[in-house]
């Protein structure tokens, strides 16, 4: 099935839907904000039906030095909410900002996304976490708690007989979205959502916080940080489905920290490599997008001309977060095709946009995941087979492709100096039920090393054989392998693209997926080159 057949006549998810909606403010008055915090006065007069309580986050955070009219023992639950008109129940999406000058209210910066989602029949809110902003560190657990407590407020409204939202919130369809440190925090929120306690803090409601255990459909991170807060159990592994979007010109979170969060999520379990936790993850790397322009009220952090125009960046956010929301919240599953292959959105994205994307489906079997160790590459169990490098230097490396922080993920570096070299994976077809899957997925990306030509797409041939039939496909026919976009500072990021080759195309070429014998990467399109591969899977 082609992408077009799979998706049918999909409408641009970045365009408004047909639902009318109301926008209002909720908050926890009385709040006597001083003149220096005048942007927050709006929360002192919330809609009368949407007055909220306060929460105690003192176990997690102190407040910064801004003159907040409350302490960390009674922070408000303030926010903006867009509510579709109608009976519902409606799914819920809640956005949280990240760290920024606390004297500027960051909260309204995602109203453009809330309005989009509400027009499609989703209750969408953007929340006030500004009191945690400042020159602080390690407070992202508190941001997660605030995010979850806002969800709890929606649950309370949904269950309160006289409330306008009574029975209108689909509590098993929730998307949490965070930007920047708020993006790191949605990962912690996904983790905390399942916990009964965090340290000394019991999350059963007896001391005010929790219980949570929401039905989170996905957590989405926009240009997130990573590991600023580290739980006692180690770096957070996001347990829910996970989506990340990040810009190559990000001059705040310039190290693409969220790459590490993505790699930790839904990784192969070496003890049970065929077991999946049933969740997907997807990544979108946006060339020329910066950090701040995902928030409509933050001034760009990049000098003029460095990043794409703000309307373009907001359009990309609308299209791809819109597709995510429609897919996971409204069950319009055809929009998963946009997550699997960003090329489907080409007509909806700004002209000339260059994107790199990854997608890992819950249903997959690894042919090669490379996480066995740093020894020469192997075919990964339970698939059995051999790997032969013919003229190509194949070395597994424990290096962060995006630079900066240490990584625990191994990638395979493939370097060649003459055309016609190849990496050949021969497999025992009895151990690879390829016919049960829809596609071969290979994560691969080129570096900015000298063997690659600046600003030229890399290319090679993917050969797949069963018995006597072999089918060959140019990688570039599946997707572009872009040269890394120069970063604002620091090392260029090597961001792998997921190439998806439909199994149906193999069948069309006479290759029997139930008798698949070999997969080869043949480096015949460029005289020299260096690429990095993450994993090779059969997947849906």
């Amino acid at each position: 099935m082609t992408v077009a057949e799979e998706t049918g006549e999909l409408r641009n998810p970045g365009l408004p839907g047909i639902d009318e909606f109301d926008t209002l403010i909720y908050g926890s008055p009385p709040l006597a904000y001083p003149a220096t915090l005048s942007q927050y006065v709006i929360y002192n007069t919330p809609d009368p039906a949407y007055v909220t309580g306060r929460i105690n986050v003192s176990a997690f955070a102190n407040l910064g030095s801004a003159p907040w009219p409350f302490t960390n023992t009674n922070v408000p639950l303030n926010g903006h909410i867009c509510i579709p008109r109608g009976r519902g129940p409606f799914p819920l999406a809640v956005f949280a900002h990240g760290n920024h000058n606390p004297f500027e209210n960051s909260t309204p910066g995602y109203l453009y996304l809330c309005q989009l989602l509400a027009s499609h029949g989703i209750i969408a809110a953007t929340i006030d976490v500004n009191f945690l902003n400042g020159f602080n560190f390690g407070e992202n657990d508190a941001r997660a708690i605030v995010h979850l407590e806002h969800l709890k407020q929606f649950r309370t409204w949904d269950s309160t007989a006289a409330h306008p939202l009574h029975g209108k919130v689909a509590l098993n369809r929730i998307l949490i979205v965070g930007h920047s440190r708020g993006g790191e925090a949605v990962g912690h929120a996904s983790f905390f959502n399942r916990l009964a306690a965090i340290g000394a803090v019991i999350l059963d409601g007896s001391a005010g916080l929790g219980p949570y255990r929401f039905g989170l459909s996905a957590a989405a991170a926009i240009a997130p940080t990573d590991r600023q807060f580290i739980p006692a159990t180690g770096p957070t592994v996001v347990p829910d489905s996970y989506f990340i979007i990040h810009g190559s010109k990000d001059s705040d979170v310039f190290t693409f920290e969220g790459y590490h969060t993505y790699e930790r999520a839904h990784a192969v379990d070496l003890a049970n490599p065929t077991v999946s936790d049933g969740k997907f993850k997807a990544m979108l790397w946006v060339h020329k997008a910066n950090h701040n322009q995902f928030n409509s009220v933050w001034a760009p952090e990049t000098p003029p001309g460095v990043a794409m125009p703000r309307p373009s960046q907001e359009q990309i956010a609308r299209v791809h977060l819109g597709a995510l929301a429609l897919a996971v919240l409204l069950d319009r599953r055809k929009y998963f095709a946009v997550l699997r292959d960003h090329a489907l959105a080409t007509a909806w994205d700004p002209a000339g946009t260059e994107l790199v994307s990854q997608y890992q489906d819950p249903k997959r079997i690894f042919v090669q995941h490379n996480q066995e160790g740093l020894a020469p590459p192997v075919v990964s169990l339970p698939v059995q087979g051999t790997v032969a490098a013919d003229g190509v230097a194949a070395a597994r490396q424990l290096s962060a492709l995006v630079g900066g922080a240490p990584t625990t993920t191994i990638t395979l570096r493939l370097a060649w100096n003459s055309a016609g070299t190849r990496l050949l994976l021969q497999v025992d077809p009895a151990t690879l039920p390829a016919e049960l899957y829809k596609a071969i997925a290979l994560r691969v990306g080129q570096s900015n090393e000298a063997a690659n030509t600046v600003n030229r797409d890399q290319d090679f041939t993917l050969e797949v054989s069963s018995g006597s039939r072999t089918a060959a496909f140019r990688a570039s026919s599946l997707h572009r392998l872009l040269f890394p976009d120069p970063p604002p500072f620091g090392a260029a990021k090597i961001v792998m693209q997921t190439l998806r080759l439909p199994v149906a195309r193999l069948v069309e070429c006479g290759v029997d997926p139930s008798d698949l014998r070999s997969i080869a990467l043949v480096f015949d399109r460029r005289q020299t080159g260096v690429v990095y591969t993450g994993d090779l899977q059969f997947t849906n």
Binding site: S65, T73, P102, N136, F137, Q228, E257, A405, P406, F489
Partner: protein
């Protein structure tokens, strides 16, 4: 554009103060002896860097300070266990943005002052003013 520069430290001061209710709960959870005082480590900065999402993690020797907060002259963190100062005696404060590249400051952790029995401890909010 230039890579961000780490903050420069002007001075470090350690001030005993009353534990908050949340501090007491955390101290009990950690199995530490009930404390009359906690220690507020005030790190006075020559200039505060701009507020960004990327952060400068603060290390004392090789130990990352898990959380710090802003006050008018810089940043501070709170230590529950006085053994922290024994463990890190003479260790320098360092900053890192990625846990890989470190920027040493020339400033050592100050020792914890002794806490005399019977003395009333100030509130943490008071020692930060």
């Amino acid at each position: 554009m230039q890579l961000p520069e780490p903050p420069k430290i002007a001075a470090v001061e350690v001030v005993p103060a009353q534990p908050t209710e949340a501090d007491r709960a955390a101290i009990a959870h950690m199995g530490l002896k009930e404390a009359k005082a906690v220690y507020v480590v005030k790190v006075r900065l020559k200039a505060k860097p701009p507020v960004t999402s990327m952060a400068w993690a603060l290390y004392v020797g090789d130990e990352r300070v898990s959380k710090y907060w802003e006050y008018k002259d810089g940043i501070y963190f709170v230590v529950f266990d006085p053994q922290f100062f024994v463990r890190h005696k003479g260790k320098r404060l360092r900053f890192s943005q990625n846990d890989t590249d470190f920027f040493d400051t020339d400033v050592e952790l100050a020792p914890a002052p002794s806490v005399a029995e019977g003395n009333a401890m100030p509130l943490q909010s008071d020692v930060l003013n």
